[in-house]
C-alpha cells in the first residue's frame, strides 16, 4: 500500500488482471467514503476525498486484504463483462503504412485486427479513451514520429501493444486503421463511456452487408 496524499491509497496489484478483479470488487461493494477508483496496468488508485485520517488508514488495511485476495485463485470473483462488438470501416490513413511496417498486406492487417479479442485495460489520455490490450504482436508498431494535430472521432488506431477508438476529435500519434460509427463516448449517456475497464471488445469489418443490416 502506498499513500497518495491525505485521501489516496495506491494499491500495487502488479498486473492488469488483479487490477480488474480489485476494481470490480470495489465497485460491487464500495467502501464508505470512496470517491474514486482508478485502475491502471499495475495499480488501483482509491481515493476517499474528505475522509478523516483514521478512516483512510482503515481503508488502506481493507484494500491490503482485498489485494491479497485478488492474487489467490477464486479469492475475488471475476467481473462479468459482455463482449462489445465494434464495426469498423477499414481503409484508414495509416492502413498501408502499418502494412508496410509489418510486412503484411492491408487485408492481413485487417484480418489480424479483427481476429483478436481485446480487453479494456484502463482509460486515460482523454475522456472515454480506452487502452485495449490483446493486440496481435505482429501489429505492434511504434507511434507516429509526428503526431497529427487532429484525429477524427471514431478513428480506430494502434500504437505499441494497444488499440483504441478515439472517443472525440483530438491530436493523436497513433496509426489510423479505420473508422467506426459506434459512439464510444456520449456525455448524455450513463455511463458516458461505452468501454470500461475489464470489458472485452471485438472489431468486425463493416461491409455492405453489415451496413444493410443496420449494425
Amino acid at each position: 500500500m502506498r499513500r497518495a496524499g491525505e485521501f489516496g491509497v495506491l494499491v500495487e496489484t502488479g498486473d492488469l488482471a488483479a487490477s480488474h478483479r480489485l476494481d470490480a470488487a470495489l465497485r460491487a461493494d464500495r467502501p464508505p467514503g470512496v470517491t474514486e477508483i482508478v485502475p491502471g496496468p499495475e495499480t488501483v488508485l482509491v481515493v476517499a476525498y474528505g475522509a478523516a485520517c483514521d478512516a483512510v488508514d482503515r481503508l488502506a488495511a481493507r484494500l491490503a486484504a482485498l489485494n491479497a485476495a485478488a492474487h489467490v485463485p477464486g479469492g475475488l470473483a471475476e467481473g462479468d463483462h459482455p463482449v462489445v462488438t465494434i464495426p469498423v470501416e477499414y481503409g484508414g490513413a495509416d492502413l498501408a503504412g502499418v502494412a508496410a511496417l509489418t510486412g503484411l498486406s492491408a487485408a492481413e492487417v485487417v484480418a489480424r485486427h479483427t481476429g483478436s479479442e481485446f480487453l479494456v485495460g484502463w482509460l486515460g489520455f482523454a475522456p472515454g479513451f480506452a487502452y485495449l490490450t490483446g493486440l496481435d504482436p505482429v501489429l505492434h508498431v511504434p507511434r507516429l514520429t509526428t503526431p497529427r494535430t487532429s484525429v477524427p472521432a471514431g478513428s480506430v488506431a494502434v500504437a505499441g501493444p494497444y488499440s483504441a477508438v478515439y472517443p472525440s476529435a483530438s491530436p493523436g500519434g497513433w496509426h489510423l486503421l479505420g473508422r467506426t460509427s459506434t459512439a464510444v463516448w456520449d456525455t448524455s449517456a450513463d455511463p458516458p463511456s461505452l468501454l470500461r475497464p475489464g470489458m472485452r471488445v471485438r472489431f468486425i469489418e463493416k461491409t455492405e452487408k453489415t451496413e444493410a443490416g443496420g449494425s
Binding site: 502506498r2 499513500r3 497518495a4 496524499g5 491525505e6 485521501f7 489516496g8 495506491l10 476494481d23 470517491t35 474514486e36 477508483i37 482508478v38 485502475p39 491502471g40 496496468p41 499495475e42 495499480t43 488501483v44 488508485l45 481515493v47 476525498y49 484502463w122 482509460l123 486515460g124 489520455f125 482523454a126 475522456p127 472515454g128 479513451f129 480506452a130 487502452y131 472525440s168 456525455t187 455511463p191 458516458p192 463511456s193 470500461r196 475497464p197
Partner: protein, 283 residues
C-alpha cells in the same frame, strides 16, 4: 421583465465557469476540473447565500467585466484585485450596473459568485469548463449572456463581510512524500524542501510548473500509467516538478514524489509566474 443574465463585457486573460467539478469519473478518463482555488469559490458562494458547489466565475489575472441588466447580489474572493464595489463581501450591483475586476495585487485567480448561480447547461453533472478535455461550457467571450439561476428559496446571506486571508510573502506548500518517492534519491526529497522553487510561465489549470533544484532519480525506466490525485507533484525526466491542479490528467506515467496538502491546494492555484514557493515536508 428583465432577464436574469450576466453580460460578459470583457474577460481578461481567461475567464471560465467553475463549480466543484466532476469527481468520480477518473476511471473513464474524465479530469476532476472545478475551481482551481476551491476554498475561494466556496467562500464567495456562502457570502451570497448559495450552496458552496454553485457555479461561479473564475477570472485569471483580473480583467473580467460583467454587466447585470436586472441587477444581482455578487461576492468577489480569491486573488485580491481592485473592485469599485468591494471584495470579500456580498455586494448589490444595481440594474444595468457593472462589476469590473482590476489587476490583482497578488495571486492569480479571482472568483465571482452571483446569488442564484450561473445556470449554464451542466455536462456530466458539472458546469465547470475543463481546459484539458474541453468538457463543459467554453471559456467566456465578450458579448456572452450567462443565464442566472433563481435566488428563490436561498437562505439570506449571514455575513456582512469575510476577512480576506493574509497573503504570504513566500508561500509554503505542505507536502506528504509518496507514492513514488522511492524513484528518487534521498537527497532529492531533501533538496525539494531546502530552497524555494520559482513558478514558470507555462503554468495553467492543469498544473503549476516549477523551476529549481533538479530532482534526481534513483532508478531508470518507465513507470506504468497510474491514477493521479490533485496536488500530486509529478516529476518528468527533466527533474523539474509540476504540482497538479484541478484539470490534471486522471492518469499519468511520471513518478509522483509527493502530494501537496489539500488545504494548501488553493494557495498553489494562486501562484503566478515568477513567484517563489517553498515545500514543507509533513508527517
Amino acid at each position: 421583465m428583465t432577464p436574469r443574465v450576466a453580460e460578459v463585457v470583457a474577460t481578461g486573460m481567461l475567464a471560465t465557469v467553475q463549480d466543484l467539478g466532476r469527481p468520480g469519473l477518473a476511471h473513464l478518463g474524465v479530469p476532476g476540473a472545478g475551481a482551481a482555488d476551491r476554498r475561494s469559490l466556496r467562500l464567495a458562494n456562502r457570502l451570497v447565500g448559495n450552496p458552496e458547489d454553485t457555479a461561479g466565475l473564475e477570472a485569471t489575472f483580473g480583467g473580467l467585466r460583467l454587466r447585470f441588466p436586472g441587477g444581482a447580489w455578487v461576492a468577489v474572493t480569491g486573488a485580491p484585485c481592485p473592485v469599485g464595489r468591494g471584495t470579500y463581501a456580498p455586494v448589490w450591483v444595481p440594474p444595468d450596473g457593472e462589476l469590473s475586476l482590476g489587476t490583482p495585487s497578488a495571486g492569480l485567480r479571482t472568483y465571482v459568485a452571483i446569488r442564484g448561480g450561473v445556470d449554464v447547461e451542466p455536462v456530466l453533472g458539472s458546469r465547470s469548463h475543463d481546459t484539458l478535455s474541453g468538457l463543459g461550457p467554453p471559456p467566456l467571450k465578450p458579448g456572452d449572456l450567462l443565464p442566472l439561476g433563481s435566488p428563490a428559496g436561498l437562505p439570506q446571506p449571514l455575513a456582512d463581510a469575510a476577512p480576506p486571508p493574509p497573503w504570504p510573502d513566500t508561500p509554503m506548500l505542505r507536502i506528504r512524500v509518496g507514492p513514488r518517492d522511492d524513484w528518487f534519491t534521498p537527497e532529492a526529497v531533501a533538496a525539494m524542501c531546502a530552497v524555494p522553487y520559482s513558478v514558470s510561465e507555462d503554468s495553467n489549470r492543469v498544473g503549476v510548473r516549477l523551476r529549481g533544484p533538479v530532482l534526481e532519480r534513483a532508478r531508470r525506466g518507465e513507470l506504468p500509467s497510474e491514477g493521479m490525485v490533485a496536488g500530486a507533484v509529478q516529476v518528468p525526466p527533466d527533474g523539474q516538478p509540476i504540482v497538479f491542479l484541478a484539470d490534471h490528467p486522471p492518469t499519468g506515467g511520471y513518478p509522483v514524489i509527493g502530494v501537496v496538502a489539500d488545504a494548501d491546494l488553493g494557495l498553489a492555484a494562486q501562484l503566478r509566474p515568477g513567484d517563489q514557493v517553498k515545500f514543507l515536508r509533513v508527517r
